[in-house]
């Protein structure tokens, strides 16, 4: 795993060239530390750790999926009195807006809890943006101080 670098003033970045589920814990620790470094209060860090974890899990499990593990790059920046986390990957295009919502039309004994992850993300962050640029997925999470 590459170390942390500071590409621009006040921005903290970490890249993982071949992301696996085993990297999630370290990525969470990075986001927590980075949010603290940019001066966000603990509640903001906590929320962004949860949201970033969900996004990265999805990238590993669905974005790259059964194929070769690919890179994930996370940048953390100050945003007003909170923080902004941008996550980039080169996997399959995946817009959170398309995330499978819980299927309520299925018979009661076949209902799955799909969509719980994105629901959680939307609950904890103030802004969730998706963009695809030259084969790269960019997810931006913003959380302002309460």
């Amino acid at each position: 795993m590459s170390g942390a670098s500071a590409p621009g003033a006040g921005v903290v970045r970490r890249s993982v060239p071949r992301a696996r589920l085993t990297d999630l814990a370290a990525l969470r620790a990075f986001v927590a530390a980075a949010c603290a470094e940019v001066g966000a209060p603990p509640a903001v860090g906590e929320a962004l750790v949860l949201a970033a974890d969900e996004v990265c899990s999805n990238i590993v499990l669905h974005g790259y999926g059964a194929g070769e593990p690919g890179p994930i790059t996370i940048e953390v920046d100050r945003a007003a009195d909170g923080a902004c986390v941008t996550i980039a990957d080169e996997g399959r295009a995946f817009d959170p807006a398309d995330a499978r919502a819980p299927d309520l039309t299925a018979p009661w004994d076949a209902r799955e809890a799909g969509g719980l992850g994105w629901h959680l993300v939307r609950q904890v962050v103030d802004e969730l943006r998706y963009e695809r640029r030259s084969g790269v997925n960019l997810i931006t999470l913003v959380k302002r101080a309460p």
């Binding site: 819980p102 309520l104 009661w108 209902r111 809890a113």
Partner: protein, 311 residues
Amino acid sequence: MDTSSATREPSVTLAPAVPAAVPAAAPASDRRRVALVIGSGSVKCAAALGAYRALRREGIEVSMVVGCSAGSLFASVIALGHDPETCASMTARLWTADLTQQPDRRSLLRAAFPRLFGFDANWGLRNDARIMRRMQEAYGERTFADARIPLFITATDFHTGEQVVLREGRLVDAIRASIAIPFAFRPHPVGGRLLIDGFMSDPLPVGVAMREGANVIVAVGFESPYQTRVSSAGRFAFQLSSIMTNNLLKASFAFYGLAHHSEVIAVIPRFTQRIRLFDTEKMPYIIDEGERAMSEQVPYLRRLLEAAPAS
């Protein structure tokens, strides 16, 4: 304080409960019984009496009753063991338009001049003396322990917004807390907490039934009506709370349906007439529509219960 006794108060004394038909054997296992959840909806909640009538007619037993807001009135009379007809006449006497016609005159002064007259969490626009008196006549000192079917009534903690499940103590206190409609009746203290209407934390508390071990759940609930004319601050506030709680109702209900290990059957009666908060004279119609809506689900309900293991 309401001192005018010019109008004759209808008497709502509770006749001693006629014991429900004593079953010859032990009650059917919980798998073969349904939990009944009655959400907020003022007089429309009477539809739950119709649903109860249909269940009794079909010999389907109720394992527990959960009531929220006006639903707590109907839930409690059912849980006390009254037959549907007695439930209907009792609740019709309790829920009438003149309940909210006694303004709490000091409240308006307190709202306008908070420092002078003292404004705190104990504030409501309507005097609740009348409703308390009627409920006292109807329920007396009966407690949850007098219920024949396990009963749970929900309210909301005014300070934290959390749902509070009441399952012991006097019924009048629990019901009064559950229907402490914001802006109308003042919050009601129970067990050291200041409680307001249950619908603010969960208008249709299916989760309570799930937590308490229910299997098949029958849920009777209604969306809060939207205002046709917003002609006062009270109506404005009510419109806002309707918007929020209707969204809460839908989101919660979706989640419960997803998370429950058994079926949650929503009984949604179709009313062709407009029913306003206190249209008590429409109760027979409302009950019939509730019975009809429940009856439509009975074949499916039977299949579910018969498929369940015997114990």
